[in-house]
């Protein structure tokens, strides 16, 4: 059962998720080392203590600020799931495009260490026994997620345009 490995508050900016001073690093294969670089959490990530599928719980407006895609790719590198009361638009789009799992759950209450199960329509905190409904992602993004991310989606579309699919 996945655990909550980090709990954060409102308005976590992309500067906190991926500080600007590391922006010269762009490739998704290289960005994970700088995820939450100024948090102690960065050490836990880099030392392999955080299993894939682990959960970050946030309040409102997670990922506000810059359009830097590194903020999504660095978390995708550890296959984290982000459950927030709300996400900033560009971060949410980047996450869908790159396949970072984002769940909008306005009423979830959880603490670090809680075991959490993410279902199709609700999040169940197994530690407290409480269930909270999931707000579906903007429908605009679902087609891209279903295609396996934006690169795969665009590739399909390019092939269609050239009559190859």
């Amino acid at each position: 059962m996945p655990q909550v490995v980090l709990k954060v508050g409102d308005d976590i900016s992309t500067d906190q998720i991926y500080p600007g001073r590391f922006m010269a690093t762009v490739l998704p294969s290289e960005t994970p080392q700088f995820a939450f670089a100024d948090f102690e959490f960065n050490e836990r990530l880099k030392s392999g203590q955080v299993p894939h599928g682990s959960i970050i719980v946030a309040n409102n407006n997670f990922g506000c600020g810059s359009s830097r895609e590194q903020a999504a790719s660095c978390l995708k590198g550890y296959e984290l799931t982000i459950i927030a009361k709300g996400f900033a638009r560009i971060f949410l789009q980047n996450s869908c495009n790159l396949g970072l799992r984002t769940i909008i759950c306005p009423t979830l209450e959880a603490s670090e260490g809680d075991e959490v199960e993410v279902g199709a329509t609700e999040v169940v905190n197994k530690t407290t026994g409480k269930s909270s409904p999931i707000t579906p992602l903007p429908k605009a993004r679902q087609a891209i997620i279903d295609a396996g991310g934006l690169i795969a989606y665009t590739r399909q579309r390019v092939l269609q345009k050239h009559g190859r699919a």
Binding site: D11, P19, A24, V26, R89, I90, Q93, P138, A140, G149
Partner: protein, 428 residues
């Protein structure tokens, strides 16, 4: 049926339909696609799209792509220099003409260059791999930030996929801004009212007497900072001032689509503001919506004053600052860093003696670029230091050090405070 907002009209045109409804999903064609150094990542993702297809990677329309180097200029590391080299080679291979390299004759910060060169025009759909792409709403465009992978899709097919038609918040600014109160104060006040996520997934349309009287330079400040309330875009309807700027300053000769909202357009909400009642505003650490009148934080010690950026690095901003510090000296213990928004502005300020006034007072003039604003290239803060800046974000760690603090303000507040070493009301 209610009429349409500007953004609905632009999206209807860009999808070849008579009308679009708020909340429906559309795929508008893109008129202008802008990137900066992160074009290196766009190129990587773009080439990935074509992998295994047997097709030659080819951008959909090189004349609609603009690339401006601004984030790390001149390169601060060999890594950046190598990425810039890769972008230069791509630009040459694909025949991208709107490329602004690190040059004193045509370079600058992307958002200023796009406007100065007349690339941003009313009625356009503009996307940029930069959140402050909202800036171009000042020219009457629907302009919004996207990620690098999304831009790779635009470069491939010329449209931006699956855009939900956004609802619009109408902000009406009545009256006249008092002396010493600038566009930056107005937009900080608005962000404080709306909150950092109050306009998330929405557009802010600016109206009212104070907006009609505001030059393009001020409207750019409003739209630039709209993203700090979470807005997809800010937008000012095209009017005589927009046309004057495009014709006289940007040298645009082609016909202009002066798209305007319908009188009966439906708005998500309407916010009315009396400009004449405003004081200078300051956004306090560590969120842009933590806004207070300058009097509430007057006396706070500052170590670094920054004037510049895509927000407040235009000629009128530099002139305001110079008029305050001319013939005087910065307080000891304060560093004042000035970075104009473009080299055209740099040259104009040089010719008018504005840069001389600033330097003689003790300021350091940097080349146009973004670096200092986001802590990636010079102007970093020490542990426990406080910056007062005309830039757009004060997030924890924004200027390169999570153990520092950033306050945001207008160029007038910044310059007045540089003379005293503490946050100071420029009207005093």
């Amino acid at each position: 049926m209610a009429g349409m907002t500007i953004v609905q009209k632009i999206l209807a045109r860009a999808t070849g339909r008579p009308s679009v409804e708020v909340g429906e999903v559309v795929e508008p064609t893109v008129d202008l696609a802008m990137s900066h150094e992160n074009a290196a990542l766009v190129i990587n993702q773009f080439l990935d799209v074509f992998k295994g297809t047997g097709l030659e990677p080819k951008v959909w329309d090189p004349s609609r792509i603009a690339i401006i180097f601004d984030h790390r200029v001149p390169a601060e590391s060999s890594k950046t220099a190598t990425n810039q080299k890769k972008v230069r080679e791509f630009v040459g291979q694909h025949g991208i003409q709107r490329f602004h390299d690190i040059r004193g004759d045509e370079g600058g910060i992307c958002h200023q260059v796009l406007v100065e060169y007349g690339y941003s025009r009313p009625g356009m759909v503009i996307v940029g791999t930069d959140s402050h792409t909202t800036t171009h709403g000042a020219m009457g465009a629907f302009a919004f930030g996207i990620g690098a992978t999304e831009m790779a899709g635009v470069w491939s097919l010329g449209s931006v996929f699956n855009v939900e038609v956004p609802a619009t918040i109408k902000v009406v600014v009545n009256g006249t801004l008092p002396a010493g109160v600038l566009a930056k104060d107005l937009v900080l006040f608005i962000v404080g009212k709306l909150t950092a996520e109050g306009a998330n997934f929405k557009v802010i349309e600016f109206h009212g007497e104070a907006i009609r009287r505001m030059p393009v330079s001020g409207r750019l400040v409003l739209c630039n900072m709209s993203v700090e309330a979470g807005a997809t875009s800010g937008i000012v309807p095209c009017d005589e001032e927009t046309l004057r700027y495009l014709r006289d300053e940007a040298g645009v000769r082609e016909p202009i689509d002066a798209v305007a909202p319908d009188a009966d357009a439906a708005y998500d909400r309407v916010l009315e503001i009396d400009a004449s009642s405003l004081a200078p505003q300051v956004a306090c650490p560590h969120t842009v919506d933590n806004v207070k009148p300058v009097g509430d934080v007057a006396g706070t010690v500052v170590h670094q004053v920054v004037i510049g950026s895509c927000t407040n690095g235009r000629l009128d901003d530099l002139e305001v600052a110079a008029s305050i510090v001319k013939g005087r000296k910065l307080a000891r213990g304060v560093r004042m860093i000035v970075f104009p928004a473009s080299w055209r502005i740099y040259q104009a300020a040089l010719k008018r003696g504005v840069l001389t006034d600033l330097v003689e007072a003790g300021a350091v003039i940097m080349n146009p670029g973004c670096g200092c604003c986001l802590g990636i290239h010079q102007g970093a803060l020490g542990d426990g230091e406080v910056a007062l800046s005309t830039t757009n974000r004060n997030f924890k760690g924004r200027m390169g050090n999570p153990k520092s603090e950033v306050y945001l303000c207008s160029p007038a507040v910044a310059a007045a405070s540089a003379l005293t070493g503490v946050i100071t009301d420029p009207r005093s």
